[in-house]
Structure formats: C-alpha cells, structure tokens
C-alpha cells in the first residue's frame, strides 16, 4: 500500500478526502463530545443527588441541562453515526470511497469549531444557552442571554454539516453500489442510513428556519414568536417539532441498522424478514413526519388535532414492533455466541423495547397530560436515546474495531464494560419512571423530600454508567496500541457483508476494482 498510503502529519487529517480518515475523525470527535456531554450530565446528577442546592445555582443548572442535550444529540450521537456511515457504507456496498470526498472533508471540519463556539458560550456574559435543548420561545428569544446569537450560529453550522453529510451518503448509496448489488440486496445498515439521510435533508432546513426566525425576533424587530407583536409562541413549537420528531428517528434508525448487522452475525443466521425490515424502516420514517404535535398535547390543540396526533403516534408501534419481532426471530434457532457486540445489541433491543412501551403510554393523550414534562418522559427518551442509540454505537465499535485496526479488543474488558453500563444505565433511568409518575417535573434543580431516594439511586447509577465509559475508552486505546492482531479477515464467524472480504486492518484504499455481488 506504500505508494498510495496517506500523507504524513497534521495535513493528512486536515486535508484528507479518504472516507476512512474522515470516519475516524468523526468517531473520535463524537467520543470527545460524548465525554463532554456526559460530564454535564454528571454535574446535573451531582446536584440532584440530594434535595437542596449544594453544587450549582439554578441558572447554571439550566445551562447544564441545555448543553447536555445539545451536545449529546448534535455532537455525540449524530456525528458518531455519520462516522460509522463514512467508514462502513463504502465498504459495505463495494465502493472505493464516498461519492463527494472533498465535501466530506468540509462536513467534518465544520464541526470542531462549531462545538468549540457552543461550549465557549458557557464563559460568555450571561452564560450559555439556558432554555432547554428544545429552546422554546419566548424564553429563548425575549428572555435569553446574549450568547443565544452564537447558539443560533452554531445550530446553523451543524445543520449545514449534517446536510452535506447526508447528500454525500445519498449520492454514494445511489450511484456507487457494486455491480449486482440491487437496493434489496443492500445491508440493513446501508438501508437505514439511506432513509436517515433523506430525513436529514428534509428536516434540517426546518430547524434552520426556526433559529432564523429567532434571530429575526431578537435582532431585527420581527414578532414571529411574540404574541404582543401579533406572533405566536406555539408556532415555534410546531416548527421545532416538525424538525424534532423526525430527528429522534434520525438518531435511532442507524442504530436499528447496526443491530440488524450484529444480531445475524452472532446468531449465524440470516436476518429474518429483510424485506419487511426495509418497509418498516420506511414506514417509521414516513410516520415520523405526521406526529410532531404529540410533544405538544398540553399546549391547547383543538380536539380533532389531538385525536389525529394520538392515533398517528400509536400507529408507530406497529412497524417498530415488527422490527423487534424480526430481530428476535433472527436469534430464534440460531447458533448464538455472546461476544461484547452481541451483548450490547441484545441489550439495545431489550431496553429500546422498554422505551417503546413507555413511548406507547406517552402516545395516549389523556394519560400524557399527567406524564408530560415529568421525569417519566426523561426516563422514556433516555431508554430510547441511550440504550437505543448509544448501546448500538458501543456494539458497532466493538463489532468493527477489529476491521478498522486489524487488532482484537480485550473481550473481558469489553464484557465488564457492558455489564457495568447495563447496570448503571438501568439504575439511573428506571427509577426516573417512578419519580415522574409520582409528580416530579423535569428540568428542576431541586425537589421535595418524597423524590429523594429514587433521585439518589439515579445519581449513583449515572456515576457508574459515566465512569464505565472510561473503561470503553481505555479498551479502544489499548486495542490500537497493544491489541493482538486478528487471525482472519472475516474476524466473526457469522459475518456475511462485503467489508469482511477485505483485509484486516482495512487498507487505506479498498475496492479499487468493484466486487461482483451475486
């Protein structure tokens, strides 16, 4: 590979157009953001460890909850999946690289300065964004700290990055599949990302619209969201959630893709119901556009709207359930081994389904009047976002790390990471269902004594889950520096997709001649 190897030094990374380099940078960046967003969460849980204000003031607490949400969604989970897409999609469809490599470089390099700017708002006068990751107007417009303008700029920049990344993925998947790879032969991970990319292209401009309207209200005297000027604060929520609801599927669909690769591999059996998986994914994506107002049951929608959004939301359970049944049937009568990626994948299916159940409960509008904006919601979306997306990401990293590095991670350490994560995660978020049902609102820095015990459990769980991620980091670094070389290119006995046909570690340029797919 010598002659066609990468350039040396810093310029290799700054100017690279290689999908593997860019994928690697995305993955490291998102891990750094995961730790940053996690440290915000640790501050939140430390303050909530017991009643009373002890560590931070309410103002800073609000900044922490806001930044935790923003950094985790836009800085950790989304870029991590884009990193996986960059690394794996060309290798899974037999393409030499992404379709638009120069743009690929740009879409990554926008992110680090953007998040540096976002983090810098914490040190600005008036502090960082303190209005929740949903930044409802007018708290985020009329009553916001001056740093909100930087926040708007950051949201625009990360939106641009996401759109460029998605266009690249669409162009790659549509144009660069190996001869013989029809759409219905593509690996599930590629399918889920293709659909996700369309979702991103559709809704990121909506988010951009929302923040642009905010910018106009703050600096140019418009009144989009100001009732006193003829505007409507509820309009903000409609626009935000028209982006925000598909956004949660942008986060979860690639995770569905990951487990659809991992479970068949370790069950040594083909994915059950491939066709219905594709249709289910597409249905979920379609439904995600017509259910946004279920985040707004309490704003005073007319009853016809309330009923429509309730029924449409409940319908999502059908394709989602079909996916879960398919994964389980894939395992049924397989020949299963429980390596770390499989453990994370099974846990993802299990815990995501728990989150799906609470999601179904939340869909029931009359009951949602009691759940809305309580800790029950916090528990629900952490079961879907953390167990659903981050467990899948852990699974993906363990699954493909040997292919990326040519070295094997430490299995024992991986299993310890899994079990500590699993325990810590459930200890953190399961009790939050209880305090939510008992009446604890979300986003409060202090609470009545009746919520004290479960909150303490929750905080202990969070510290356990948080520290287990350092073990993950250690295991990855140790694999790269001291890992034992893998003894086969295929690595996993049951693996079938194209990336396992190239050497491990994957060479800098793969598929210079396209493979034939039968």
């Amino acid at each position: 590979m010598g002659a066609h190897g990468p350039a040396k030094g810093f310029s290799r990374w700054l100017f690279t157009t290689n999908h593997k380099d860019i994928g690697t940078m995305y993955l490291w960046f998102s891990f750094a953001m995961f730790l940053l967003g996690g440290s915000f969460a640790m501050i939140i849980r430390a303050e909530l460890f017991q009643p009373g204000l002890q560590i931070v003031q309410p103002e800073f607490f609000n900044q922490m909850t806001t930044m935790h949400g923003l950094v985790m969604v836009f800085g950790a989970i989304m870029p991590a999946f884009v990193g996986l897409a960059n690394w794996m999609i060309p290798m899974m469809i037999g393409a030499p690289d992404m379709a638009l490599p120069r743009m690929n470089n740009w879409s990554f390099w926008i992110l680090p300065p953007t998040f540096a700017l976002l983090a810098a708002t914490l040190f600005m006068e008036g502090g960082g964004p303190n209005f929740g990751w949903t930044f409802y107007a007018p708290l985020s417009t009329t009553y916001a700290p001056p740093s909100v303008t930087f926040f708007i700029f950051a949201v625009h920049a990360m939106g641009i990055s996401s759109i460029m990344g998605s266009i690249n993925i669409i162009a790659t998947v549509v144009n660069m599949r190996a001869p013989g790879m029809t759409y219905m032969k593509m690996p599930m991970f590629v399918w889920t990302w293709l659909i996700t990319a369309f979702l991103l292209v559709a809704v990121m401009p909506v988010l951009a619209g929302a923040v642009t309207m905010m910018l106009m209200d703050i600096h140019f005297g418009t009144s989009f969201f100001n009732a006193a000027g003829g505007g409507d604060p509820v309009l903000f929520q409609h626009v935000f959630w028209f982006f925000g609801h598909p956004e949660v599927y942008i986060i979860i669909l690639p995770a569905f893709g990951v487990v659809s690769e991992v479970i068949p591999t370790f069950s040594r059996k083909p994915l059950f119901g491939y066709d219905s998986m594709v249709y289910a994914t597409a249905s979920i994506a379609f439904l995600s556009f017509i259910v946004w107002a279920h985040h707004m049951y309490t704003v005073g929608l007319p009853i016809a709207g309330e009923l429509f959004f309730m029924y449409a939301t409940m319908l999502i359970a059908v394709p989602t359930a079909a996916k879960v049944f398919n994964w389980i049937t894939t395992m049924f009568k397989g020949s299963i081994t429980l390596e770390t990626p499989m453990l994370f994948a099974i846990a993802k299916v299990f815990l995501f389904t728990v989150g799906g159940f609470s999601g179904l409960m939340l869909a029931i509008a009359p009951a949602d009047f009691q759940y809305h904006d309580s800790y029950f919601v916090v528990a629900h979306f952490h079961y879907t976002m953390v167990a659903g997306a981050i467990f899948a990401l852990s699974s993906a990293v363990y699954y493909w790390l040997p292919k990326w590095t040519g070295k094997m991670y430490n299995e024992t350490m991986g299993k310890v990471h899994f079990w500590v994560s699993f325990l810590g995660f459930n200890l953190t978020f399961f009790p939050q269902h209880f305090v939510g049902l008992a009446g604890m609102p979300r986003r409060i820095p202090d609470y009545n004594l009746m919520f004290a015990d479960f909150n303490m459990m929750s905080s202990i769980g969070a510290f356990i889950y948080g520290s287990s991620q350092l073990l993950f980091l250690f295991n990855i670094v140790r694999t790269i520096t001291h890992g034992k070389p893998v003894n086969s290119d295929k690595v996993w006995e049951g693996a079938t997709t194209l990336e396992w046909t190239v050497p491990s570690p994957a060479p800098y340029h793969t598929f210079t001649t396209p493979p034939e797919v039968k």
């Binding site: 708290l139 219905s276 009853i303 309730m310 099974i346 004594l449």
Partner: protein
Amino acid sequence: MLQQAKRLSKLALSPVLMLLSLVSSGVWAAEPAQRWQTNMTPGVTEVGAKIYDLHMFVFWICVVVGIVVFGVMFYSVFAYRKERHQEPATFHENTKLEIAWTIVPFILLIFMAVPATSTLIEIYNTDDAEVDVLVTGYQWKWKYEYINPDGDNVSFFSNLLTDKAEIGNTEEKGSNYLLEVDEPLVLPVNKKIRFLVTANDVLHAWWVPALAVKRDAIPGFINEAWTMPTETGVYRGQCAELCGRDHGFMPIVVNVVTDAEYQEWMGKKQAEVAELKELMSKEFTMDELVARGKGVYDRSCAACHGANGEGGVGKAIAGSPIATGPVKDHIDVLVNGVPGTAMQAFGTQLNEVDLAAVITYQRNGFGNNMGDMLQPVDIYKFKKGQ
C-alpha cells in the same frame, strides 16, 4: 371491558404486584410511604380516576406483551447458544407470521384508542362550569383571579413560601419543602371549576396531579381546563414547563374546602376588594404611607434590595439615583420593571395603594428623606398614561 382486563391482568401478575407493593410500602426504610411512591395518583376527580385506569390498562398490556416478547428473546439466547445448538437454522422469512404480528399489535392499539378517545372528549368539555379561575403564570409565581360576572374579581399572587435557608441546606427541610405557598388557591368541593390559563412573560404549565390538570400557560393565549374535586384537602403541584431560573421554585397549592368554607373565604376576599376600592380614593397621611410601605417593601423588595435598602441582587435603595431622582422615573421602574434585569414589573403584581406606599417609603426611608409623598390616584394616573 377495561375493568375486566385490569382484573385479569392483576390476577396473572399478582406476584409482580406484590413485589412492587412491598417496595412501594417502604420495606427499605421506616420513611413515610409516599417517599417510595412508584405510581401515578388516581387523584380526587372522576377524570383523574379514568386517566389512572387508562394508564394502568396500557401499562398491563405492555407488561404482558413484554413478558411474551422478552420470554421468546431470552429463551432464544439460552436455548440456542452455540454450545447447545451447533447448526443454525436457515429460514429467513415467513409471510404469514409477519402479517400476523402486524395485525395483532394493530388490534391491541384499537383497544387502547377507544377508552383514550372517550376520556379525551371528556377532558375537553369545559361547559357548565360553576367557578371560573384565571390562572396566570409569572416568572416565578402564579396569579389567581376569580371571575365574578356580578361584580369585582378577586385576585391574588401565590408565591413560594419555603425559606431560603432550607434550600441552602442550613436549616432542616419541612415535609412540604418547595411545595408550599404563601396563599393557596381555594376551591369548593364537588363543583365544576374551569381554569383559564395564560402567562405574562414566558411559557409555564399549571400542573396539579391530584386534580388531573396540566395545561400550558402561553402569553397572549388563553387555554382552558377543568376539574371537579370530590374530596376536600390540600393538593400540591408545580410548574411543568421550563420558565427560567426559578422554574423549580414555582409550586402550586390548592385548598379544596366545603362550599360553606369557600363562601366564607370568598366573602372575606370580596370585602378586601371593597376595602381596597375605598382606599384608592382615600387621602393618606405620610405616616400611613410609610407604615404600609414598609410592609410591602419587606414582602416584595427586601429579598433583592436588602432589608435596610443596602442592596444585594438588586441595586441599593439608600441614596439611589432612582429613589432620589424624579418621582415619575421612580414610578416607571416599579410599574414597568427594568427590561433585561431581575427588576420585575410590579404594576400588575401590586395594587395602586401598595405601590404608592412603597414608593413613598423608599423615597423617605433608608436616609433618602426626599419628603415627597404619593397617593394611590397618582399611580392610577401614571398607569393610564396621564
């Protein structure tokens, strides 16, 4: 149907229920049972009970589905481990099975949608209310106004009562820590009460679990909700929409009393309104204004400006350019607040009498000795732009 399904599922799951109730009854510590509360309250309204039943109905469906699905899942993992099952099967689709497991969840959803729809329709029916209360969210307190079609409305603010020392951990916390207010909302039992919910500044949400009411308070818009409590008692809730710094310190306390007690309380409140009306046209002496103004200052201003006007979060009153400058500017600051700072607009929170008194007190107390005094009518004229 709903009742039957509930009973059946309870029977099937009695061991789980027993375990749950053991946990919730507090075997771990000799604390009051509510410390380990694990479930929603059915509350004290018919609608609340229906919501609770619906919640439990959907919950038990989820539990049953979960047991089946996870049962198959864990069975697969244990029975088809590689060491026990060397040769994996090769099947990868079954159209009949896939259609079946699309239809079955759909049918279950219909079973849930029917009671959900009827409950929702009931929640939306705000007709025939006997008492109307306008609830307005402020940063960070609630204002209640009883709408009286035959006369003057009764209104008051409801502030957090919990001591700063309890929040700062220097004093022991009471059992209603953060859930207590200086003046609760008083409602009669067994009457349909309609809430008109709005906000003055940002979004808030008025939530009392026991009354089964949660409605967003949106500036410029009025939302409706209703309740009919069937038991007297004190019910507590909190603001449920992030509304800025003190979002967590914005409790709601509702005191549901018998009709006779309610009438008596309302009579007293209406007498206060009448008295205030009289005071509006009264000519106050300096001593009266200062005495009343001190009370208002200690209640509403001292937290930020210091007990002796020495300043704190807010600027010092003693020797301040506002309190020693033109009277009109001073009134303006109190009535309209100072945008972009913590100084709120007190024009709607305090009445003309209290505003006149507190301004007079600020201009003559703390060594300011300006000598001028204000009458309620001056404030009234200012508000009218005269």
